[in-house]
Amino acid sequence: MTEPPAVASPGAAMSSEFAELASDEQIAKAAAALERNGIRSLLAATGADARGLVDSLLVDAAEVYNNTSQTLEAIGVADDIERSGRYQPLRLRLYRMDREMQRREMRTLAAAPDYVVGSVHALTEGGSLLIASASGSQLGPLASGAGQVILVIGAQKIVSDVATGLRRIYEYCFPLEDARARRAYGVPSGVNNILIINKAITTGRVTAIIVKEHLGF
């Protein structure tokens, strides 16, 4: 892997090629590729439609962990998971835990939820999913720990290939996420871990909902 490119400012990121919505042809191509790779793909015209699809996929009373995600917050899915009362929202359960005394419980609880719901930083036309994470804690459940994975993906995240996806992470997503982390937590972020899902070997485990709206980063 080449050295990461110089970080652009968040302002520059907004006018980037990576903020443009993919065409219908690109969306169809990515969706078909996902299916070939064992990842179920659903199309949603709007964020509201995507929210409904997530609702239809989640099972009542299941343990659900919602990754920190601008996409999920924007369309109300984070709220649904944490406040509807239909599920066991693991974020709330983890938040109440004593970080000193219950660190082991937190780690094990977060590692293998029934459902993890999140987004990605790039989806390639070849059907690969790229997710970056500063701590890495989001990646284990996505790769294998969670029973089911639901990803809501704004169509601006579709790129031609993995190399472009990595460039999208470094040049576009990271400056925005870094700014967000500094505001939210007072600490910078970092492209410290990257997960690339090329294929799902467990049928039906991973569902990607592609939304024809600019959602998230």
């Binding site: 944490e82 974020r91 709330l92 109440r96 970080r99 005394m101 419980e105 994470s133 804690s137």
Partner: protein, 424 residues
Amino acid sequence: MFDYDARPVTPGVVLVGTPASRGGYAIRDFLSRNGYPFEWVDAGQPDAVRAVLGVAEVEPSALPLCILPDGSRLASATVEQVAAGLGMVADPSLPEYDLTIVGAGPAGLAAAVNAASEGLRTVVVEAVAPGGQAGTTSMIENYLGFPNGISGSELATRAVVQARRFGAELLLARPLVGVSADGPGYVAELSDGTLVRGRAVLFASGVEWRRLDVRGVDDLLGAGVYYGAGPSEALACTGSHVVVVGGGNSAGQAVVRFSRYAKRVTLLVRGRDLGASMSQYLIDHVSAIPNVDVRVRTPVVGLEADDCLRAVIVRSGDSTEPVRLPADALFICIGGAPRTDGAAGIGLATNSAGYLVTGSDAASNPGASWPLPREPLPLETNLPGVFAAGDVRCGSVKRCSAAIGEGSMAVALIHRRLAEVGGD
């Protein structure tokens, strides 16, 4: 920071108050024990107040001020108002239940899981939060099946999920104020007037903290003095000097918890040694913590305070000279008194210490009469169809695992009672 360390998206409750506020502490404790995210804002910090309210000051009479997730505000908030505002106060869904369980601690939740899973229409009424005393314990290391231990809150959370999955209802945030006979069954009345009818009743109401008979304790409650381990206060004890009073497992668990945050923790034990009431694994653990000081034969005889606690006055060993121990917080864990509110009016027999008598003890209790030809069942009180399990019961072993065992066992006995009155 891992992703799961971040705050939930859900806006929590914002609570504005003074550090020495008893009402503020009660709300913090309630929200903590119910797992509800909240932000505490010191009313004496203008910048922090302005950040949440848009103004730098709040009228003292309005404190504690609570901002609910929907943006509505409760001035001079109470626990009951906050609970209602958060939608935590539900009505019973049925006109009658097979089993009404009083208390959602380990015994009550075990009974709920077993009863509901066996098809009994089951409701649990709980004054504060699921978990009981065990629910505030930072780590239970001797409960079967958890070789690395499990926190009391996590055990309670899982038990609630399990009970609800089987169809048990939980009515939270309202204490029981009375029970009355209603034919062969009973009607339980909650503090807001809600009536719950049950063909049988199980008292699993546990114990409340025994009061420390030292002048000034009541005045300082919530202002540096707390009963129990106060999970909501652990973070606030960072860098401070904490004093824990008590010689049992609850005190030991509190010491372990606070030792992770406080600069120093002092455990004061009235007795000669810890072995009388603390489990050996916990004694070993406490003894090995470098910032913990264990003082036996050291009762508390006074407190020093201005608007909040400043020091604990003790006597040590055979000396009659009082010793001043600087302290920022005092957590009192000196055992329990049975919580039998609401049971007195119906004539439930207790022993001299107030614990509910059951089985053969109930049959032979001089203060009560038994109306049936058969003997009371093993966990049955002197009233047919009213049972007791866990710490509230005379003769119970005061351990979480024992309480769970009794709660589970009670269901089999309740089935026999229900068959007796018909319609089981």
